[in-house]
């Protein structure tokens, strides 16, 4: 693990060993519930979660890169650690996810600033090492850019759905992708969020600590705001309609199209017997083969693996996507027509 200085822990508090940190500072959790001066920090921790729940980034007491007050640093770390304690006590998973994401965004800002730091080489090196240690992404500085091997880039970029992240829209040279500090850090956002999330999920849940109850109850109330339910229109997405259309006309639907159609309908709860007749008009229709393949996809024969419907991205590559404005915001055909209420 990295050895971190005081201000680094404040910037990246998730890298700290929580129990050890408290011990080093000479505190116990109980003290925070009882000591009126320390209790303030619980309120601060609650606010830190509340800001995250609203989808915003917690504004730090740290000003710029340098720390204004000696006291600000530990307060930053405490409010983070206490926020985790509150979250664990409340047991609200939606809040943990939101908190992890917001904290990742916050850390992102610091990482980006450190990467772009021209005057302090050690800050830049630390950011590069954090990225390497946590996510095994090796980045190198090349002129004004950071470069990363195409294969590493792809492992992360496939999680993005914005077209600017597609490899085709990147500067690629010598098997490497060129990124700005902002893009470099943005590339690992999801992993950073996952890392923080895992750290919280894996943390031990303490028993209720006197003085923490109010904030925990408030969190439970807060999380109620985020329960949602969805309604579905039941209409098929354009790619599926198109595939059915082709088959009805007796034209040839490529293997990848048949795979999409079958896995889509299976996911929607149709049975192999209901789906098979759709393929009757295919130029090379063979009932035995069709049933065999459908059963294979459904997982009722062969290895037992149930195949899932391809993502919109994959279908685009296969020229099977016929997106309309109604497709906006979905990443698999299965999400089509679902609306949050």
């Amino acid at each position: 693990m990295l050895s971190l200085g005081q201000d680094e822990i404040a910037k990246y508090p998730f890298l700290a060993d929580a129990g050890q940190y408290l011990k080093d500072k000479g505190f116990t959790l109980e003290q925070f519930g009882t000591d009126p001066d320390l209790k303030e920090l619980i309120t601060k921790a609650y606010e830190r979660i509340q800001v995250a729940a609203d989808g915003k980034i917690y504004k730090s007491d740290l000003i710029g890169d340098q720390v204004s007050k000696e006291a600000a640093l530990p307060r930053e770390v405490f409010s983070f650690l206490l926020a985790i304690v509150l979250l664990k006590l409340s047991g609200m998973h939606t809040l943990i996810k939101r908190f992890a994401l917001a904290e990742a965004r916050r850390a992102e800002k610091y990482l980006e600033k450190d990467l772009a730091n021209i005057s302090d080489e050690s800050k830049k090196q630390l950011a590069i090492r954090v990225i390497d240690d946590l996510f095994s992404v090796q980045i190198e500085k090349l002129d004004d850019y950071f470069v990363i091997p195409v294969s590493d880039y792809l492992k992360h970029s496939i999680n993005f759905h914005e077209r600017e992240w597609k490899l085709i829209n990147r500067h690629v040279e010598n098997g490497q992708v060129f990124l700005t500090p902002h893009e470099t850090v943005r590339l690992i956002r999801k992993e950073l969020g996952t890392y923080i999330n895992a750290k919280i999920v894996n943390a031990k849940t303490p028993t209720m600590i006197p003085g923490f109850e109010d904030s925990v109850n408030k969190l439970v109330m807060l999380s109620k705001k985020f329960s949602t339910f969805t309604v579905t229109t039941g209409e098929y997405p354009p790619c599926i309609k198109h595939a059915i259309d082709i088959l009805e006309k007796g034209e040839n639907l490529p293997h990848s199209g048949r795979f999409m159609l079958a896995t889509f309908l299976l996911s929607k709860g149709q049975s192999v017997q209901q789906i098979a007749p759709l393929f009757k008009n295919a130029p090379d229709y063979n009932e035995r083969v069709t049933l065999y393949q459908l059963n294979h996809l459904a997982g009722t024969s062969g290895s037992g693996t149930q195949y899932s419907c391809p993502s919109c991205e994959k279908l685009k590559t296969q020229s099977l996507c016929f997106a309309t404005s109604e497709c906006e915001g979905i990443i698999t055909p299965l999400q089509f027509g679902k609306k949050r209420k």
Binding site: P149, V150, S151, L154, K155, S157, I158, R163, E164, K166, L167, I168, N169, R170, H171, V172, E173, N174, G175, Q176, G250, E251, P254, H255, S256, N281, P283, D284, Y285, G302, S303, T305, S311, E313, K314, K316, T317, Q318, S319
Partner: protein
């Protein structure tokens, strides 16, 4: 297919496998690969592991397969079911097929074989005899198709070498045995990437999904300085060479692009993708569990061999891949289009008995354009 035709093809294939085994070699790291084969009129047998050349030879002689395949992936246990194989990595593979190139020559050498009544007609949508729509398209040799496919191979190699810094020696090109090329790329940084990552590589290579911003065009206040230069590397360079035509026209074309606006620019990008992107089959490259035709084996769509092209430019698909014998055989041929194999002309045949060399007879029977008389 008729029993007599299958017997004939099997004996021709067996003879080839017996005499030309030097052409059929197991790939490197043999024991980590999955093999599979098909027999005529029968399904696929896969999840097989093979130790060495000798074992492969034995398998070919015992089963006389119509087609033989081998994985581009490496597994710990290639002969176990898919989810127990323990996938380790996979070579990058590409398939370029003339039928996907939208060539104007296609209609001239494509026939329709009716699956219901076996009637053969020139490329049509419906069977002229029984009106069935269950038609199989069969294409006969065409030099233009091969040349156009070669151009795509060169486009692909250029991208692999220049953008991904892949060593030329790690790229191997094979004629598929029908009407396209298979390209293998070994020992690269891409060995371990999964299917979704490979799909992104595919879009890169095909020039799919490009946005105007990357090529200098902005929605608001576009600036001519951000447009690519003629000599730039990568896609910005290829784009400018294609769209500007020459260095001197750069300025004029940029003015045109600017005045046409953002959405028109997006359309330009989508249109040029057809010309500057390499036309590969996305499904093949995305598939990390595929068993791909084994080099040196016969393609049962044609009776021709999937063979390594040492010199792509000089490679003549319809001479260099034909290894079956010249012994004549009598067939009932129905092939209304003339074609050339091993420098000899055949056809057109209109439902007639003809005596022709085995390699041509096999070719037509594989295409369902002839049967043993």
């Amino acid at each position: 297919m008729k029993e007599t035709d299958i017997k004939f093809l099997e004996s021709a294939f067996k003879k080839y496998y017996f005499e030309q085994f030097n052409l059929i070699r197991v790939p490197e790291r043999t024991s980590e690969r999955e093999f599979g084969y098909q027999k005529f009129n029968s399904g696929m047998t896969r999840h097989i592991s093979v130790k060495d050349d000798k074992e492969l030879h034995l398998l070919l002689m015992q089963n006389v397969p119509s087609d033989v395949y081998c994985s581009n992936a490496y597994y710990s246990f290639p002969n176990l079911p898919m989810n127990e194989k323990d996938w380790k990595e996979a070579d990058l593979i590409f398939d370029i097929d003339a039928k996907d190139l939208n060539l104007s020559c296609r209609t001239n050498h494509t026939l329709s074989v009716c699956n219901d009544c076996s009637e053969i007609s020139n490329n049509s949508e419906k069977c002229l005899k029984c009106n069935s729509t269950k038609l199989e398209k069969k294409s006969v040799p065409c030099k233009n198709c091969i040349d156009a496919s070669k151009t795509e191979v060169l486009k692909l190699s250029e991208i692999l070498i220049n953008d991904f810094s892949i060593n030329k020696d790690n790229i191997q090109v094979y004629f598929s045995g029908n009407e396209g090329f298979h390209i293998y790329v070994y020992n690269t940084q891409f060995q371990q990437i999964g299917s979704r990552e490979r799909s992104e590589l595919v879009d890169y290579i095909m020039f799919n999904g490009a946005i105007p911003e990357k090529f200098g065009m902005k929605k608001f206040k576009p600036n001519r300085n951000s447009f690519p230069d003629f000599d730039e590397s990568g896609w910005r360079g290829r784009f400018s060479k294609y769209v500007y035509g020459s260095k001197s026209k750069r300025s004029k074309i940029i003015s045109e692009l600017l005045s046409n606006g953002y959405s028109s620019f997006q359309k330009t990008l989508d249109d040029v993708s057809e010309n500057i992107g390499a036309k590969i089959d996305p499904n093949v490259t995305m598939d990390i569990h595929r068993i791909f035709r084994l080099p040196g084996s016969i393609n049962s769509k044609s009776g021709l061999t999937k063979i390594h092209c040492k010199n792509l430019e000089k490679f003549d698909a319809y001479i260099d891949s034909s290894f079956l014998s010249d012994d004549t055989v009598e067939v009932l041929a129905n092939c209304p289009i003339e074609f050339k194999l091993k420098n000899k002309k055949f056809g057109p045949y209109h439902n007639e008995k003809v005596s022709i060399p085995t390699f041509a007879a096999v070719y037509m029977i594989c295409k369902k354009l002839a049967t043993i008389a």
